[in-house]
């Protein structure tokens, strides 16, 4: 009997894991980087790494379901004659018509309106579906300026000057030709079927001083009525927030790297920008240093999923949050009932992100007339409204337990961190200690 040496168990590299190997093979075969939608998928320090300190003796809780906990927020109190008044501090982030189908945009408007909050246009301009079904609509002023016109500026309730996006700070976009229907082509003033490049920077200004004058122009065109938001990708949140305030923004929107995108290079999504959690305290600090905290409102987005995330963001000093990816899921995106079709596309429910290809089985990120029919705007809007209500109730429950009669009374003192990383990023103590790493600077 021959003795065989015991074999070692095959071990795969942590560096060259299965995903990395598949990406190398794919790149070698196709000669193009991977483009996909959605936000960063890598594990990042996030709101899950924070915990609330409910009240006991040193703090006095409010009675759940019985005592009032206000959720309303007013955005644009600095200069605008007509600030935006929202019933809940959760807004719908900008997502373009073209990227999303018309019924999906309508559903977002319906859901937001039922919930007393705003929705936002996107790179494709303003659609009647969205304006007609959104009580409060924020009109994005984007580098591409697709569909931009003064009529829609005046029909909007606020204007969001988009400088950057969390999934791709400094990056433009690419809507591939296969998604360009006649309607999308017309709205974007481009021929049907060609790839549509969205610029990474505004064509008619080159820096913060120009931005200040640009904001003046937009205010003059709209008679100083509309709040002007400035949206930046979460990369240098302290300085970008400070410069947005200097330029005259009524509201600053900071989008962390978990924020979604319609179509961007995978390597860009996963390697540029900072986690949402890391963006909040520097942005709040910038406002505090300028004496503008709560005078210029701060909206943060990027990976907000539930009421705890909302409450944590507010406790760290933001005035409202925005949701994009979560709203699409609420409408029905990545729903397991389409699993067979996701499989046919080489994906699975929960991981489908090739939104730019226009073949979304859920009918949300597509311009295919047959697929679009799968979205019932009324039912999907109702689902979004339900989801927003649940998030709000969850946040209220936590706030009451912390003794707050308004979500906006939550504060950093209500939080501790589970990890040193989260403690440092959020500026709250590591649980069980009074240690805030890096407290004296960013």
């Amino acid at each position: 009997m021959t003795y065989r040496n015991p074999p070692t168990t095959p071990r795969k590299s942590a560096t060259f894991d299965d995903y990395t190997l598949s990406e190398i093979r794919r790149a070698a075969a196709t000669g193009i980087y991977d483009i996909r939608g959605a936000g960063a998928k890598r594990k990042l320090p996030h709101f899950d790494d924070l915990l609330f300190l409910g009240a006991s003796i040193s703090r006095y809780p409010l009675e759940g379901y019985r005592e009032r906990c206000d959720t309303s927020v007013v955005l644009g109190t600095r200069h605008a004659k007509k600030p935006i008044e929202l019933k809940i501090p959760i807004t719908i982030a900008g997502m373009s018509f073209g990227s999303l189908s018309g019924p999906a945009k309508e559903a977002l408007g319906r859901g937001a309106t039922l919930s007393g909050t705003s929705t936002t246009t996107g790179d494709g301009g303003m659609t009647e579906e969205e304006r007609g079904h959104s009580k409060q609509l924020v009109y994005q002023y984007l580098p591409s300026r697709y569909g931009m016109n003064p009529r829609d500026l005046r029909r909007a309730d606020a204007i969001e000057v988009v400088v950057g996006q969390g999934a791709k700070p400094g990056g433009g976009g690419m809507l591939l030709g296969q998604k360009i229907s006649d309607r999308v082509a017309e709205m974007r003033t481009l021929p049907k079927g060609i790839d549509q490049r969205s610029a990474s920077r505004h064509p008619d200004w080159t820096g913060p001083d120009d931005l200040e004058i640009k904001i003046l122009e937009l205010r003059e065109i709209t008679d100083w009525e509309k709040p002007i938001y400035v949206k930046v990708g979460g990369a240098r949140p302290y300085y970008d927030t400070a410069l947005a305030v200097k330029a005259g923004a009524d509201v600053v929107v900071v989008d962390g790297m978990q924020g979604g995108t319609a179509a961007t290079q995978e390597v860009f999504i996963e390697n540029v920008g900072q986690p949402t959690l890391a963006c909040i305290r520097p942005a709040v600090q910038a406002l505090q240093d300028l004496g503008m905290h709560r005078k210029v409102q701060l909206i943060v987005s990027g990976g907000i999923r539930n009421g705890a995330d909302v409450a944590k963001a507010l406790a760290l000093g933001v005035d409202a949050v925005s949701i994009g990816t979560a709203a699409l899921v609420a409408l029905g995106d990545n729903d397991p009932r389409w699993e067979a079709e996701y499989n046919a596309l080489g994906s699975t429910a929960g991981a489908y992100d090739d939104w730019h290809e226009g073949r979304d089985p859920a009918g949300i990120t597509t311009q295919d007339p047959e697929l679009m029919k799968r979205v019932d705007p009324i039912a999907a809007g109702r689902r979004l409204a339900n989801y927003l209500k649940v998030m709000t109730l969850e946040a209220q429950t936590i706030a009451r337990a912390c003794g707050k009669n308004s979500l906006h009374n939550l504060e950093p003192e209500d939080l501790v961190a589970l990890t040193i990383e989260a403690a440092a990023m959020a500026g709250v103590p590591l649980a069980g200690t009074n240690w805030i790493p890096g407290k004296n600077g960013f």
């Binding site: 000669g31 003033t189 064509p203 080159t206």
Partner: protein, 243 residues
């Protein structure tokens, strides 16, 4: 959308409403312009002492004639929809930004990104324009009597840019369907921008545009036409060097 002939625009300044920015604010000027209703008798306006003010006459949406006596700062006539604006001086950056219709005439020079993202109407610059003239233009017609700077018509989508003088570096980089007509020298063409044949329909169109812009003594046949090679319209890794 009807073409505007700026050379024959009705301008009866004898009954113009005079707005002196030395005495009244920019806000008051723009608010008064925005309060105009269709059919208003106040069809002629004169703006004195602009002294480089930004955002003069932005968001006009009635067919009124506005004469600005002096030079303006950024974004004069921004998003103009129907107004016939004449600046008797020079213009700062972004004149006629995102114009929808109507006309803007600059008697002097214009700074960077003149007519940026403009969607319609006619912008005439009787002097020179700086860099990025017509950047991302989406349907506007721009006529520059003098020269234009570098990166003009970058990512231009549609509309027409006519230059009687010379064009700087990287003209029409990443251009889509806009048409560029240059009479003088082009320093260099940007990615995917090529010289194209001047066919009879282009000569006819250009002559008409020159007429509308009040250009005399210049023939369409003196211009070269530039436009997109359409090689970058759909991504192909073999064209990666162009990006």
């Amino acid at each position: 959308m009807p073409a505007t002939n700026v050379s024959t625009a009705q301008r009866d300044q004898s009954h113009a409403r005079v707005f002196d920015l030395a005495a009244l604010s920019l806000r008051e000027l723009n608010q008064a312009l925005h309060q105009l209703t269709p059919g208003s008798n106040e069809t002629a306006w004169e703006v004195l002492n602009p002294k480089g003010s930004h955002s003069v006459a932005v968001g006009v949406d009635q067919p009124v004639a506005i004469d600005v006596r002096g030079s303006v700062g950024y974004y004069c006539g921004g998003m103009n929809a129907g107004g016939a604006i004449t600046v008797h001086g020079s213009a700062g950056p972004g004149v006629g930004e995102n114009m929808m219709s109507g006309s803007i005439v600059i008697k002097g020079d214009a700074s960077q990104y003149a007519g940026a993202t403009g969607r319609g109407g006619l912008l005439v610059i009787e002097g020179n324009a700086s860099s990025r003239c017509g950047i991302s233009m989406k349907g506007i017609d721009i006529v520059v009597h003098g020269n234009i700077g570098h990166m003009s018509a970058f990512m231009a989508q549609s509309g027409n840019l006519v230059v009687l003088g010379d064009a700087g570096d990287a003209l029409g980089d990443s251009i889509y369907e806009a048409r560029l007509f240059v009479r003088g020298k082009v320093e260099s063409l940007g990615a995917d921008c090529i010289a194209k044949e001047m066919r009879p329909e282009h000569l006819e169109f250009l002559q008409g545009l020159l007429d509308r812009a009040g250009v005399t003594g210049v023939k369409a046949s003196e211009f070269k036409r530039y436009g997109s090679a359409r090689k970058l319209y759909n991504f192909n890794i073999d064209n990666a060097d162009a990006y």
